[in-house]
Symmetry: C2
Subunit: 337 residues, 2 copies
């Protein structure tokens, strides 16, 4: 048996940390402060934009939603009307949208960035997308004269606001050099995963496969335990000290114990991400039966109306089928009375 | 997001630790040193028997295998020929066999303990069995005038030899009191889970569900990562610092990276334990699709000839289907050349 020691806190230990020497080189090559555009001012994008402003970058935001733009402006930010306009002002554009369709629209749509990239030389793409899409995106941006950093993020809204995200990034040396001051402002941990677009998205996909399976397994385990009459708090206490533990079990089961399904990350995120695993498996003709099983449970949860609840609500699939009484039902407006 | 801190080492932190006050009370009620019988001198039982001798208990072993008995005798131990004979000499009998069929044979077979329990007042049953079986076992031993401590163990052979196992135990106050000096000698952590036989086995079953799903998911994730061209060592480094981590991913993936499938715990153990999850779900008419999916992968691995290899060898199911090159193949005699 291997004796592995891991000091685990909510923030995993950084593998590499910006600023690194490349950051300083990069700053030399940008004697003017870098101007950064942020496309997508949702929970993650807004936090990131504000964190970058605090770090001293000049930031311009952009979002289809007027309400999202207004939130940023109220916080002292500046917005333009379209990604196309960002190209006039920004050296680097960070894309923090939900999925590949939105990436397409903001980069290649009618008022998209590539319609008039102007001053912009680098796109940092942060949405979780299929690796095959990230690869083709790199080629298409290259044809348009733009570098791509394939850079999926994780950490949640609170970490984004603190500029402490984790980034799984791949791209050319030039892309990393241009990205350095931006990554420095937005991330605590940058996993540098090679020089080709696609590799960042591949590693993120593997992480999402595991995260999704572990959340569904945590739900299944807690549901079976409750069905067998085990006290849920006691079960949590034993499992988190045993070999059955996972980062997700430890982090998400408290939501179940408290009956608090306020979405920190929603069920529908894993419907999306496990479908990306499925799509990638299909492209590679590679079977992923565990991920497929977890996908079915998240799909069932979404179909039953829990898509916008916290992803721990996947346990409600088991609850509805078996008529379980979940803990903390008094706190959960959706619980059967 | 909850900020949970866990100092995780190979040995999880104890919830409660023997000796506790009950141990001292128990010793007062046993002015003679307790004589303990150990049925089953495999890797776990032999280690436990030797650890108990070192702790000062009088220990008598028993195993159907002459080779297993001889190993214990060579180490200075004493054996008898049958569980029935143990009843003449032992206050407490610890059952450390593989499955419920073996528990049946050693307790209720022709030369089983209950044929002549004599001096024995308590059975500590350590095999992972179906909770329904543990319940009925408690009732049948009660009818025979014996207490049962339902006490599945985990930790592996090395921990058993050190007397540092983890025990998930339930039983009456009298059973715990009689068991105290024995648990003190064999365990580092005792999770005390109530006064009814069955609860220890229920909690252990939930742990095995998670452990089995996490090993199969770790195999699936690493296989997909390798298929996508990710460097396996780099992937391990990122995932163990990310939200996709699990105790099993961290502990088992190094076996894959090293190509070392020497069984610390075998594929067939999870074929057995996930079948117990399946059986329990069937008894309760409760669906466990994640566990079912993992069970199919372990069953496929066993059917392909890897049943006695380390449970990380479940990755070879993906390898064979997709023609993957696994890392460390030079170390693995079974790897395709």
């Amino acid at each position: 048996m291997l004796a592995l020691t891991l000091n685990r806190v909510d923030s995993p230990e950084p593998v590499s940390r910006w600023p690194a020497p490349s950051t300083r080189r990069s700053r030399v090559s940008h004697p003017q402060p870098v101007t950064v555009g942020v496309i997508g001012l949702g929970a993650m994008g807004l936090g990131t934009a504000l964190a970058m402003r605090e770090a001293g970058l000049s930031v311009i935001g952009c979002d289809v939603s007027a309400a999202a733009r207004e939130t940023f402006v109220t916080a002292g930010g500046r917005c333009v009307d379209s990604p196309r306009e960002l190209g006039e002002h920004c050296d680097v554009v960070v894309v923090v949208v939900v999925n590949a369709d939105q990436v397409e629209a903001v980069l290649f749509g009618e008022a998209g960035l590539t319609a008039a990239p102007g001053r912009t030389g680098l796109v940092i793409q942060c949405a979780t997308v299929a690796p095959s899409y990230a690869e083709s995106l790199g080629a298409r941006l290259d044809a348009a004269g733009l570098f791509l950093l394939d850079a999926p993020i994780s950490g949640g809204a609170a970490k984004s606001r603190q500029g402490r995200l984790s980034v799984m990034a791949s791209g050319s040396a030039e892309a990393f050099e241009r990205a350095a001051p931006v990554l420095d402002a937005m991330a605590e941990t940058v996993h540098r995963l090679g020089d080709a677009a696609g590799m960042g998205s591949r590693v993120k996909l593997v992480n999402q496969l595991l995260a999704g399976v572990h959340i569904a397994a945590a739900a299944e385990a807690m549901a079976l335990g409750i069905r067998m009459g085990i006290d849920p708090e006691a079960l949590y206490g034993v499992i988190t000290r045993s070999a059955g533990n996972s980062w997700m079990f430890e982090n998400r089961v408290p939501h179940i114990l408290e009956g608090d399904y306020t979405p920190l990350s929603a069920v529908d995120i894993f419907v999306k991400d496990l479908n990306l695993v499925h799509q990638t498996g299909r492209e590679l003709t590679f079977p992923t039966p565990l991920a497929a099983s977890a996908l079915q449970q998240f799909t069932a949860a979404s179909g039953a109306g829990y898509g916008r609840e916290d992803d721990a609500a996947v346990i409600k699939v088991y609850q509805r089928l078996a008529g379980l009484a979940l803990p903390g039902a008094a706190n959960d407006a959706e619980a059967p009375s």
